[in-house]
């Protein structure tokens, strides 16, 4: 397979574009489900950057880091979605601004 014919800069540029799209999602949306989803996009873009950089030099370290990012994303989404359920039970809405007060 003719791997590594794609220049590393293009892969990193794609990772940057995806990260910025996720960041825009976090900043623009107020629905907590969409915010979590945008965080997943950003984590995935960071992992893409790691794998692209790792494959540029033919080392497995980038892919190892992607596995750690995957682990962290799984733990984060478990806790985050549990928080979504709590928010929906307490406030009967998915609006993030409903939970802007840190009290009880």
């Amino acid at each position: 397979m003719t791997a590594a014919v794609v220049p590393m800069e293009y892969g990193l540029a794609l990772a940057g574009i995806l990260f910025v799209l996720g960041l825009v999602g976090v900043l623009v949306r107020r629905n907590i489900v969409f915010i979590l989803l945008s965080i997943e996009i950003m984590l995935n873009a960071a992992g893409l950057a790691f794998v692209v950089a790792g494959s540029r030099w033919g080392q497995p370290d980038g892919q190892v880091m992607f596995i750690f990012i995957l682990t962290m994303a799984a733990a984060e989404v478990a806790v985050g979605l549990a928080l979504v359920l709590q928010l929906a039970q307490r406030f009967h809405t998915l609006d993030m601004d409903a939970a802007s007060k840190m009290r009880g």
Binding site: M1, T2, A3, A4, V5, V6, Y10, G11, L14, I17, L18, L21, V24, G25, V28, R29, N31, V33, F34, L36, L37, S38, E40, I41, N44, L48, V51, V52, G54, S55, G58, Q59, P60, D61, Q63, V64, F66, I67, F68, L70, T71, M72, A73, A74, A75, E76, V77, A78, V79, L81, A82, L83, V84, L85, Q86, A88, Q89, R90, L94, G104
Partner: protein
């Protein structure tokens, strides 16, 4: 191979932009799954087939399924019926289906190219990743297991119903 990368990258950017701009959460999840699949194809092209497999199984499989379950659990009863009716209209599935079809066309194109005797210097398989993971990174693996345990306990604690959680210690959480 370059062409596959460019088409996959275009699909990834397009479907991600569509995912963060949808009104309905399930539609956004569909586009996000397409985006993750296209990123998996990019991983495959740049010589990381094991990571591409993990991306499909864990990201597009497990994590997105959890998202879909939670979105369905949050669905309020009375408007669920007509929402379901709107979801079943063919127009909703059109966009993700077209993008996924392009992706599977690319996959068939790669498989048709043949020549999968990958030279070890270019494509990094699971063996090298495993050696690296349990060699210099073994401490990080232990930390990742602790992180997963913390996530499990946190999700169990936070995910309980309010009546059960509030009984022993007042407000809870």
């Amino acid at each position: 191979m370059n062409l596959v990368f460019y088409v996959s990258a275009a699909i990834a950017v397009l479907s991600t932009a569509l995912a963060i701009s949808r009104v309905n959460a399930v539609h956004a999840l569909l586009y996000l799954i397409v985006s993750l699949l296209s990123v998996a194809l990019i991983f495959f092209v740049i010589g990381a087939p094991f990571i591409a497999t993990l991306e499909v199984i864990i990201y597009a499989g497990a994590i997105m399924v959890v998202f879909v379950f939670v979105v369905m659990m949050l669905n309020l009863g009375e408007q669920a019926a007509e929402q379901e009716r709107r979801w079943l209209s063919p127009g909703i599935w059109f966009g993700p289906s077209i993008l996924a079809l392009i992706l599977i066309g690319e996959l068939v194109y790669i498989l048709g190219l043949g020549g999968f005797e990958t030279s070890a210097s270019e494509s990094i398989g699971p063996k090298q990743i495993g050696i690296a993971l349990f060699g210099p990174y073994v401490l990080a693996v232990e930390l990742a297991s602790i992180l997963l345990l913390a996530g499990l306990i946190g999700a169990y604690r936070l995910g309980r119903r309010e009546s059960v959680a509030a009984a022993p210690r007042g407000e809870g959480t």
